[in-house]
Symmetry: C2
Subunit: 229 residues, 2 copies
DNA sequence: CATGACGCTAATGTTGACATTCGGACAATC
DNA sequence: GATTGTCCGAATGTCAACATTAGCGTCATG
C-alpha cells in the first residue's frame, strides 16, 4: 500500500457528480414534502424551470425521477401533478411496502454486518433522544425512514433497494401526514417498535423476523387509516 | 339503475395515445429481447435516434423508461447500456420477484373475478397447445410472462403492478436466456406449475398459495442458475 | 521502461425555439 | 335545455444546435 499524505482516503465510490436533473428532483421533492405543493397540485414545467433557474428539459427529467419514486403522476399532454392520499392509495402502498420490508428483513438478518447493526442502534437512540427533548414530527419521521433505509442497505440487493425507492417517498409523505393528524399515537410506539426490529435482526429466527417486519408496516397502516378522513 | 338503449357501454378507459418516447422504448426493448443488442452492449442516443427516425430527446426519454424497467443502466456522461446477466443479478431479481409474486398471489386469491380466472386457464391451455405442436421457446416464455401479468392485473394494485414492471423485462430476458441454454427442463415443467398456480388461486388456502407462488419463482431461479456458466 | 500530463474525439448533458394537444368558453343546433 | 361543434389559450411534446465531459492515445519526463 502506498503511503498517504492526506489524512483520510476519499472512500467515496466516485464523488458521483450529478446533473441538473437530479438537483432539480431533489429541490422539487423537498418542496412537496415541505407541503409547498398540496397533494393533487399541479407541477408546471415552465414555472419550475424559472424558479430553479434551469431549462425545461432538466426539470422534465427531474420530474421523471420523481415519477419513478411514485411521488408524482403524469399523463400525455396533461402535465404532472402530486399524488393524492386516498385510502385506496394508502392501502396499495402499505401492502407493497409490507412485502418489501419482509424480504429486506429476512435478507438483512443474514447479510448485515456489525457496522450495519450498530447503525440501526444509533438511529433508535436518536429517535429516543428526539422524543425526550421537544419532539418535532418531521425529524422523527426522517429518522424512521432512515432506519428502514439502513435495513435495505444491509440487505444489499440493488433491485430490492430500487423497489423500496419506488415507494419510499410516498411512505415519507404519508407518515408526514399521519404525524400532522395525530402525533400521540405515533410518538408512543416508534421507538419500541424499531428497537424490537433491530434486536430481532441481531438474533431472531427467520419466521419471527418476517412476521414482525410485516406487522410493523401494518401497524403504521392502521395508524394512518384511523386518522384519515 | 337507468335503463339502457345501447347494448354495451364504451368501457374503454381512454384510447391512451402515446408519445414517441413510448414508441421508442417499445422498439428498443424489442431489439434487446430479440438479442440484437448483447448484454452489456452500448445504446448510443444518436444511433438510435437515426435508426428510429426521431429526435435524441425522445430516445433519451425512451431509455429512461427502459431504465425504470431495469433493462438498461446509465451513468453520468457515460451513456446507457444493456444490463448483463451475472449470477448475482439473477439472485437479486428472483429474490425480489418471489416477494412480489407472493403478495400478488395472496391478493389475487381474494380479488380475482371469474373473468380473471378464465384468462389464466386460457393461458395455461395456450401453453399446453404450444408444447403439443412444435414449441418455440420465445413464444412459450411470452405466455409465461403473460400469465403472471394476468395475476398482477387480478390483484388490482397499481403500486404492485408498477413494482412488477420494474423487474418484468429482466425476468423476460433471463427466461429467454434460460430457454436458449436448456429447453428440456423448462418445457417439462411450465404447464404443470402454472396449472397448479391457477387452480390454487381458485380454491387454495392463503398459506399454500403464498408458499406455492414463492416456490414457483425459486424453481425458475434454480433452473436458470444450473444452466448458467 | 514506467508514469504522469496533455489534448483530441466521440459521446452525453443542456438549452431555447417550434409543433402539437388538451380543456374550457362560447355559440349554433335539434 | 341539453348536446354538439368550433375557437382559443396554456401547457406539454418534439426538435436541432451548443456546451460539457469521459475515455483514450500520444508524448514528454523521471
Amino acid at each position: 500500500m502506498r503511503s498517504r499524505v492526506q489524512p483520510d482516503p476519499p472512500a467515496f465510490g466516485r464523488a458521483s457528480r450529478r446533473g441538473l436533473a437530479d438537483e432539480s428532483a431533489d429541490r422539487i421533492r423537498e418542496a412537496i414534502l415541505a407541503g409547498e405543493v398540496p397533494p393533487g397540485g399541479p407541477l408546471r414545467e415552465v414555472e419550475l424551470a424559472a424558479a430553479l433557474g434551469v431549462s425545461r428539459g432538466s426539470v422534465r427529467e427531474g420530474l421523471w425521477i420523481l415519477e419513478r419514486e411514485g411521488l408524482v403522476r403524469s399523463a400525455w399532454h396533461r402535465g404532472t401533478s402530486v399524488i393524492d392520499i386516498t385510502p385506496e392509495d394508502v392501502r396499495e402502498v402499505y401492502a407493497v411496502r409490507a412485502a418489501l420490508d419482509r424480504l429486506a428483513a429476512i435478507t438483512a438478518r443474514e447479510t448485515a454486518t456489525e457496522n450495519h447493526l450498530a447503525e440501526l442502534d444509533a438511529l433508535v437512540a436518536a429517535m429516543a433522544a428526539e422524543i425526550a427533548g421537544t419532539p418535532a414530527g418531521a425529524r422523527l419521521v426522517a429518522l424512521d425512514i432512515a432506519f428502514h433505509d439502513a435495513v435495505y442497505t444491509a440487505a444489499a440487493n440493488r433491485r430490492l433497494t430500487e423497489a423500496w425507492r419506488a415507494v419510499r417517498s410516498q411512505v415519507h409523505l404519508f407518515q408526514l401526514r399521519r404525524v400532522a393528524l395525530g402525533f400521540a399515537h405515533y410518538r408512543a410506539r416508534v421507538v419500541d417498535e424499531h428497537r424490537e426490529l433491530a434486536a430481532l435482526l441481531r438474533s431472531g429466527d427467520r419466521d419471527t423476523v418476517a412476521r414482525t417486519a410485516e406487522e410493523h408496516v401494518n401497524s403504521a397502516h392502521r395508524g394512518l387509516l384511523a386518522d384519515l378522513p
